[in-house]
C-alpha cells in the first residue's frame, strides 16, 4: 500500500509540475527544470553506491559523459547510414534510425552499466580514498579516450541538431523535460525499492562493516558489483538526452567538474541513507544554482555548492533528512501508536540509524 501511495504521489506531483510549467508558458522553466531533474537522477544514482554502500565515487562525470556520448555515437550512425552500414543493411537502418530518446536512454544505461560493472570488478578490493582515486582515474581515462575518438567529434566536439518540436507535446524542450521527469521517477523508485529490500540491508552492512557482513553471510563482493552497475547505469541514463538538450557536446562540458561535485554534494546535503536525501539536496542545490545563474552568474554555482557543503558538514552532517529525522524522533510517542510523524518517517523509509 505504501508503494502505491508513493507511485501515485510521484505521478501526481510530476503531472502537476509539468502542467503548471506549461500554463506559465515560459520555456526557460523547462530548461532550468531539466537541469534540476538531471541532478536528481545523478544524485540518486551516486547515492546507491556512495550513500547506501559507503563507496565514494568521484567519477560520476565519466558515467554521465558515457551516456551522452552513447547518444552522440548513435546519432552519428543515423546521420551516416550509407557510409557506416553495408548495403544490405541500409534499408533496415533507415527504418530504425534515428532512435527515439527513450531508446537512447536504455542504450546509455546498458553501456554505462557495463562500465560500472567493469569498474566495480577492477576495484573490488579497494576501499575509502583508494576507491575514490580509482573512480577519478576512470574519468580521466575515459575523457582521454573520447578526446581521441574522432567519430564522436574528438576534442572539437559534436553538434546535434534536434527537431524543433515533437507531436502531441509540441516544444522539444518540453519533451526532454518530460523524459527527464519520468527518468527521475524511475531513479527514485529504484533507490526506494533497493532501500526496502534485502539488497538494501546488504548494502547497509557493507557501509557499516564489511568483515561483519561477510560473517553474517552477506556476499559483499557480489553486492558491490550490483551497486556499481546500477549506479553507473542510472548516471549514464541521465546523460543520454544531454546532447539533445545542449545542442553541442564537447568533452570538457560532458566531463565537467560540476557533475562530479554536485552528484556528491547533493546527497551529502540532503542526507545519504534515504532516497529522500538526494531528492531534497538536488532540488535545493539545483534550484539555487539556476537562480544564481540568472541573477548573478553561472560562475558562482560551484561556490554555492562548496559553501553549503561546508556549512552542512559542520552544522548538520546527516543532512536535511537528519535534521527532519531528529525533529520527528523528538516528537514520537513512546507507545507504538502511529503518529503523523512516524507515518511520514515510514513513508520516507527513514531508518533510525540514518546518518
Amino acid at each position: 500500500m505504501r508503494s502505491l501511495y508513493f507511485y501515485l504521489t510521484s505521478i501526481l506531483v510530476a503531472a502537476a509540475f509539468f502542467m503548471f510549467a506549461r500554463w506559465l508558458g515560459n520555456d526557460y522553466l523547462f530548461f532550468a527544470g531539466y537541469t534540476v531533474l538531471q541532478f536528481i537522477v545523478l544524485a540518486t544514482a551516486w547515492n546507491i553506491l556512495g550513500g547506501y554502500c559507503g563507496y565514494v565515487n568521484f567519477g560520476s562525470a565519466a558515467f554521465f559523459a558515457l551516456g551522452a556520448y552513447s547518444s552522440v555515437a548513435v546519432h552519428k550512425l543515423a546521420a551516416g547510414i550509407d557510409r557506416y552500414f553495408p548495403e544490405s543493411l541500409t534499408g533496415l537502418a533507415h527504418a530504425v534510425l534515428p532512435l527515439p530518446i527513450p531508446v537512447l536512454i536504455v542504450i546509455a544505461g546498458i553501456v554505462s552499466g557495463l562500465v560500472g560493472f567493469g569498474t566495480g570488478y577492477l576495484t573490488l578490493r579497494l576501499r575509502g580514498a583508494f576507491f575514490a582515486i580509482a573512480t577519478l582515474a576512470l574519468a580521466v581515462v575515459l575523457q582521454t579516450l573520447i578526446v581521441n575518438w574522432d567519430f564522436v567529434g574528438g576534442s572539437r566536439g559534436a553538434y546535434i541538431i534536434r527537431p524543433s518540436d515533437v507531436p502531441i507535446i509540441g516544444s522539444y524542450i518540453q519533451y526532454l523535460f518530460l523524459v527527464m521527469l519520468v527518468l527521475s521517477i524511475v531513479a527514485i523508485a529504484t533507490a526506494r525499492l533497493i532501500e526496502q529490500s534485502r539488497l538494501g540491508y546488504g548494502f547497509a552492512t557493507i557501509r557499516d562493516d564489511e568483515i561483519a557482513a561477510e560473517a553474517c553471510g552477506v556476499p559483499t563482493l557480489r553486492l558491490k558489483l550490483v551497486a556499481t552497475t546500477i549506479s553507473g547505469a542510472l548516471m549514464g541514463m541521465a546523460g543520454a538526452p544531454f546532447p539533445y538538450y545542449i545542442g553541442y557536446l564537447e568533452p570538457s562540458s560532458a566531463f565537467g567538474l560540476s557533475y562530479a561535485v554536485n552528484s556528491i554534494a547533493m546527497p551529502m546535503i540532503g542526507g545519504t541513507t534515504s532516497w529522500v536525501g538526494p531528492l531534497v539536496g538536488a532540488i535545493l542545490l539545483g534550484t539555487l544554482q539556476q537562480v544564481a545563474t540568472v541573477t548573478i552568474s553561472s560562475a558562482v554555482n560551484l561556490l554555492i555548492v562548496g559553501l553549503l557543503l561546508i556549512g552542512f558538514v559542520i552544522a548538520a552532517p546527516r543532512g536535511v533528512v537528519g535534521l527532519v529525522q531528529d525533529f520527528m524522533r523528538k516528537g514520537s510517542a513512546p507507545t507504538n501508536t502511529p503518529t503523523w510523524r512516524s507515518r511520514l518517517a515510514a513513508f520516507a523509509n527513514m531508518r533510525p540509524g540514518a546518518r
Binding site: 547497509a204 557499516d208 562493516d209 553474517c216 556476499p219 531508518r351
Partner: protein, 245 residues
C-alpha cells in the same frame, strides 16, 4: 572421534616473516563445547580467522561438516553453518538491534531452510533471538544505545541468527564484570543445549573451566595441549607458557 564436525589439519599462516600458525591440528565433534586458550599473540584469533575465511591459510586445510572449506569466502562458510562473533563487537551501527539480527536471516537462513523466510517468520525469529539474549526491550534501539555486555549479547545473537552448526565465540567476555561473565557463559551453554557446537576463545579461566568440556592450548602458533580441562591445566607446558618456566 568418528566424523568430526570440524577438522583442521596442519594449518599454517605467516604474516611476512612472522609465523602466526604452524602445523595446527584440531578436531571438534558435533555438540561439543571446546575452550581455546593461549597467551596474547599465540594465534587464537588468526586460527579463528583462517577457519572462518576472513584470512586465507597458506598450508593445511579446514574441513567442516564433510566439506573442504579451503578457497571458500567467509560468507560461503557462514552459509554452510559456521558462524562467529568478534573479539571487539562489530555491530552494524546504522541498523537497529532487530535489523542487526535480521541480516543473517535475510542472507543465510534460506541456505539452510531451502527457502527465504517470510516477513512474519523473520520478525518472529528476531523477537525470539532478542528474547534469548535479553535484548527484546531494546530491539528498536541502535547499537550506540547498548551497554558493553548488551553489545556482546548482540554479537552472539547475530551469530545465532545464522542458525549455525558451529559457533566460534572470540573473547565474548573481554572487559565484562564477573556477573556479566556468568551471564554470557550461561547463554553459551543454553545455545549449546539447543544443539550448537561451540568453540570459545577466552582468557578468563573461570569462564573457560565452567564452560569447556575440552580445552585446546595454543602457544606461539602451535598447539601444545588438547584434553579435558583438568588434564590441560596440570600440563607442564601449559603451566610453563602461562607462568613462565
Amino acid at each position: 572421534m568418528a566424523d568430526p564436525l570440524l577438522h583442521v589439519e596442519n594449518l599454517g599462516k605467516r604474516f611476512g616473516g612472522f609465523v602466526a600458525l604452524e602445523g595446527v591440528n584440531l578436531s571438534v565433534a558435533q555438540g561439543e563445547r571446546v575452550g581455546l586458550i593461549g597467551p596474547n599473540g599465540s594465534g587464537k584469533s588468526t586460527l579463528v580467522n583462517c577457519m572462518c575465511g576472513t584470512l586465507h591459510n597458506e598450508t593445511g586445510s579446514v574441513h567442516f561438516d564433510g566439506h573442504v572449506m579451503d578457497g571458500l569466502a567467509a560468507h560461503e562458510r557462514t552459509h554452510r553453518g559456521m558462524a562467529r562473533s568478534f573479539q571487539l563487537p562489530r555491530p552494524f551501527v546504522t541498523l537497529t538491534v532487530a535489523e542487526n539480527l535480521r541480516i543473517p536471516l535475510l542472507y543465510t537462513a534460506h541456505t539452510r531452510a531451502g527457502r527465504h523466510l517470510t516477513q512474519e517468520e523473520s520478525a518472529a525469529r528476531c523477537h525470539e533471538l532478542a528474547g534469548l539474549v535479553g535484548l527484546a526491550a531494546k530491539a528498536n534501539k541502535l547499537p550506540r544505545d547498548l551497554t558493553q555486555v548488551e553489545m556482546r549479547k548482540l554479537e552472539l545473537a547475530r551469530a545465532m541468527a545464522a542458525d549455525p552448526k558451529l559457533l566460534i565465540a572470540d573473547e565474548a567476555m573481554a572487559g565484562l564484570s564477573q556477573s556479566e561473565v556468568d551471564e554470557i557463559v550461561a547463554l553459551l551453554i543454553t545455545m549449546n543445549q539447543r544443539g550448537v557446537t561451540i568453540i570459545m576463545i577466552e582468557h578468563i579461566m573461570r569462564a573457560v573451566m565452567a564452560f569447556s568440556q575440552r580445552l585446546v592450548v595454543l602457544v606461539t602458533g602451535k598447539k601444545i595441549a588438547d584434553g579435558t580441562p583438568q588434564e590441560v591445566v596440570g600440563h607442564p607446558e601449559v603451566i610453563g607458557a602461562y607462568l613462565g618456566q
